[in-house]
Symmetry: D2
Amino acid sequence: MLAFENDYSEGCHPRILEAFARTNFESAPGYGTDRFCAQAAARIRSACNAPDASVFFLTGGTQANQVVIDALLKPWEGVVAAETGHVAVHEAGAIEATGHKVLALPQHDGKVNAGELREMVESFYGDANHDHMVFPGAVYISHPTEFGTLYALSELEELSAVCRAHRMPLYVDGARLAYGLAAPGSDVTLPDLARLADAFYIGGTKVGALCGEAVVFPHGEPAHFVTQVKSHGALLAKGRLLGVQFDALFSPAEPEGAAAGAAPALCAAEDTLYYALGAHALAMAERLKRVLAAHDLPFYLDSPTNQQFVVLENGAYERLRERVRVSFWERVDAKRTAVRFATSWATRPEDIEALDRLLGDR
Amino acid sequence: MLAFENDYSEGCHPRILEAFARTNFESAPGYGTDRFCAQAAARIRSACNAPDASVFFLTGGTQANQVVIDALLKPWEGVVAAETGHVAVHEAGAIEATGHKVLALPQHDGKVNAGELREMVESFYGDANHDHMVFPGAVYISHPTEFGTLYALSELEELSAVCRAHRMPLYVDGARLAYGLAAPGSDVTLPDLARLADAFYIGGTKVGALCGEAVVFPHGEPAHFVTQVKSHGALLAKGRLLGVQFDALFSPAEPEGAAAGAAPALCAAEDTLYYALGAHALAMAERLKRVLAAHDLPFYLDSPTNQQFVVLENGAYERLRERVRVSFWERVDAKRTAVRFATSWATRPEDIEALDRLLGDR
Amino acid sequence: MLAFENDYSEGCHPRILEAFARTNFESAPGYGTDRFCAQAAARIRSACNAPDASVFFLTGGTQANQVVIDALLKPWEGVVAAETGHVAVHEAGAIEATGHKVLALPQHDGKVNAGELREMVESFYGDANHDHMVFPGAVYISHPTEFGTLYALSELEELSAVCRAHRMPLYVDGARLAYGLAAPGSDVTLPDLARLADAFYIGGTKVGALCGEAVVFPHGEPAHFVTQVKSHGALLAKGRLLGVQFDALFSPAEPEGAAAGAAPALCAAEDTLYYALGAHALAMAERLKRVLAAHDLPFYLDSPTNQQFVVLENGAYERLRERVRVSFWERVDAKRTAVRFATSWATRPEDIEALDRLLGDR
Amino acid sequence: MLAFENDYSEGCHPRILEAFARTNFESAPGYGTDRFCAQAAARIRSACNAPDASVFFLTGGTQANQVVIDALLKPWEGVVAAETGHVAVHEAGAIEATGHKVLALPQHDGKVNAGELREMVESFYGDANHDHMVFPGAVYISHPTEFGTLYALSELEELSAVCRAHRMPLYVDGARLAYGLAAPGSDVTLPDLARLADAFYIGGTKVGALCGEAVVFPHGEPAHFVTQVKSHGALLAKGRLLGVQFDALFSPAEPEGAAAGAAPALCAAEDTLYYALGAHALAMAERLKRVLAAHDLPFYLDSPTNQQFVVLENGAYERLRERVRVSFWERVDAKRTAVRFATSWATRPEDIEALDRLLGDR
């Protein structure tokens, strides 16, 4: 059965399996203090052009959101997010479980708007009773968003400016970051994120790792962050599991034979395996879009990344499901359903071709 | 440098690496609903002789303790544990972070005593003001304990009886369970745990997995457990990462060539790879004990498992540290320090021999 | 300076002061186990026509909301409320501080709609991924609402039916309940609330008490509720403070000389002092409305209770504030502001007359 | 029936009732911004000789402990307390409910020892794994303690020095502070507390108020403290309820006729009504001790304050309970029980005399 349901269906990129095998019997200290984590962090700092950044590794996206946002917020603060943000709807209340409210902003194709953010914050401080309300303490955005859309660099700059004017850290959920960085029309780079955000995570789970997200604090981490990770149950004893993977993902996409004893190669974001995996998924997404369009499936919205949304008649959706795994997205109306097709680092050209044939068979 | 500091210094057992490679490009659904998790759960139910058990996979021990204990307790309840229990001292307040108190009992070589537990509970309910106090709602023990000691079956039966008399679930932290199950003098088996406990976890991180703990509820899981896992940030998108590993650990230690299309072999606990890894570590621990004794290092306590504690003069400790990685355990007095040596699934006979030579060199 | 800013500006009704004085040196046990609390609870059960109701006394409205909602919800649940509900916006995140999300529904003059509630719940359970979301676990409404509006009995019946169909307790915030019960056009009585809701509180702070809210569970209270109250820091040592006040508020409005040794008089809701205080405030509100209308102040919405909202030009608002204390409600547009006038149990006819003169002076 | 069971059995001191009556119809703003709270705070600052102190009013002791300790601690910190401290055993887990651990120190007649505190903290920071543990973030003591004992000034100075050396705020639970301040042998004054502690509360509930505790931050309050009070459900709408009471308690014990329009009299701690109520209870306690000794009831420990503990044969305890209300304290052994007698601001000489006669009757 063809599988386009998501970008985390397969195991991991073979380079990661090789790295596991190569390093397996090297003895390393625990809790992220090993040399693999150190090396991965060095590579990430290089790719982010952020020599002072602190880098930590966590196992999953909801965990990263929960731990980081809780660490960024003061007890009287909540986190501002789009009403459709992952933290607002699809994390089973993980933010509230740490005692914080998610303050919802309207979404526009999954994005928040700097003007509306400014208005919300100014309105909050302008309210004489704001001491009785939850303070906006940090801002959460996802890039790509839950709808596959992307912020323009100018939009990020505006959001960052509003955040800094009101001393709210800007936090970016990069679960699918590679699929944004490598998107043809996008002008947002890792160094941009490191410059404009106060915290973000570089998603591994959906970009070729078995698990893992790299949390980056470009300007320094929250106090006692390791202890806070531990108290959230999120500190891995074998931190190497994450270090080895991100070391591989942020090594050069085209590894040259390193001289014996040479220091690991650091490189720019666009030269990393991570970026290359993103670029591959996007090339597959371009083919997918052409196939979907060729079969006259109307797009639900215009997504420049690896997630593509189309609207199907319910009957057509039922028939499709029997032969292709896709994700239910939402009921559009009584007769139609929006579904998501996702490509990934693991999508093969022949998968797209098979889909093309299959859609022709309807 | 020789490494005896813990049992999570290396990667994973080669059978696990092979399983990752073999299954890598198979497409599987997310969040633990894949066939690897299902198969691993079936194998674990078989090894536990608990056909109705619910099995879930989490990434680490503190996470398992936090999620399970929070799910077992009502809001007005705390968890009873030895004053030296991992949840009481070494999890950075992960239990309290979910709103629950750890109610400390005296420890005896790391263990709690059924009589003292009964007395605590009866004293609680006998206090006219107990509505103003934290109710004892569940009991946490570790097996092996933090000191490497083991409960006898009769001790577990007594604890279980007290727990059931007072409707407190008994929860067993099995971070190093293999090293208890395979210990020569131990009479506690996995089916015993499934019979006597209400929840326990089978530790993978310290027994040859890259990460992962298998949480077993022999008599049914807490309501909406998956949602509770998610709200703690503990639900992995690629649940297969854990399923593949536990499928390997609970497959037969000596795999026979399965007939094509045959169902996966289920087997008793003692025939699993998991058990075999425990037995190996214990054989290494026996050799280690002989070496330590031969060099007149006094034991801090008598441990039947893979963790061995000796008392060193501070000067001797300093010299040792330069050549062997061991764990600081605690300051015994102004002049002496207790240190821990641990063997594991990965310890080789030659490591013990090297230690022997090195200790002779002092 | 004239004061119409709220309904909690004065101390308490003189009958309460008298009751304090009369009972002051009677020795009573602590924590709400005194005879005053027992007697107040009996009177409230009578007024509610709910002989099996459990009644507890707490000090304030946000506290009551926090303690009760936390006790009604399971860990994986949130509380549904109007987007303008007090718990959603004006309690500084007190619900989230206990780990629960507030799930917002659209508001219609401060009210939620049974159809929209049903749709939200059905949509939730219809979503294949609802295990990754916060379950709707209870429903919060306020009566009167934050806008002074009231549910019709038929609306409450519809809401209650949806709640029961989905096993969600219905909880009513009655901070200003007297001002709803006594409202001329309202068909909702205390026995109706006891029949249709699973929990509600009868507000004292805003209806003539120094402090205090009576929490009623018509069909039984949550397990170990007293301990849950205590763990929220909400259990008063001198529970009599609340018992004495509600005993007075729910005694007959027109006390007859009781025969010596007679049991305290129980009476229907409409015959209580509590109801009478509500009726007085509403009579004053009627006069207030006529005065506001006579001076051509446009109403912001049509409120049948003690809170009246008008829209003022900003300049007029500034001038008014110099002579009358009113509450800023919200900015309507760049030029106009909505303000709230509130009457209360303590409003005197001469206060309204003075306002009339003052508005004529503009 | 004679009542010596506690110090919160009666209503309030008549001066407080008079103050309620006198101020009842004065209109005042809400949430503690009224002139009564301001005046009470001014009087308390004067009595503490702490002109820069911030003063807030809360309704009860557990609430004060919960709100203040939560506000003093960072997320990775716990509060150090005697193993018998109120926060450690008798608050139903209110501290843990806010996510923080209570770190228990040995108790000595209810007190903690500065040397043991220093040792605990140094041992914590000396542990290489302390990042995996709960940081000692603040220190809680009670004065008088739960056993009625008192710290000497030198003991407080030592504790304060250890706290400051390790940047841990020192917080003093003064539920019964008046009964410590006025104790004959005590050398600790309110200005001492304001100098040595970082936060403390002056208990009203047990010293003649209907309810209320005055929280004092001598050197400034935690950020956004009002919002934090609100999010704990602890902010009273009618803050005047607390302001009026503490204004009365901290006015001169012997009020002189103030000149019309004069500012309210500020005075030293020893000249306040609050102090006088303490002195009265202690005079009664002296008589009580003589009566208990005269009847050969052995003291459980030597308490210099209003709580007196004696050990009774169980049979004698049962007979006593039929005629005198006392508090069960704890089972001493199979045959004997420790019970508490408490005097208070409301104890009359004739109550002691009646007890004397009654004990003679046995």
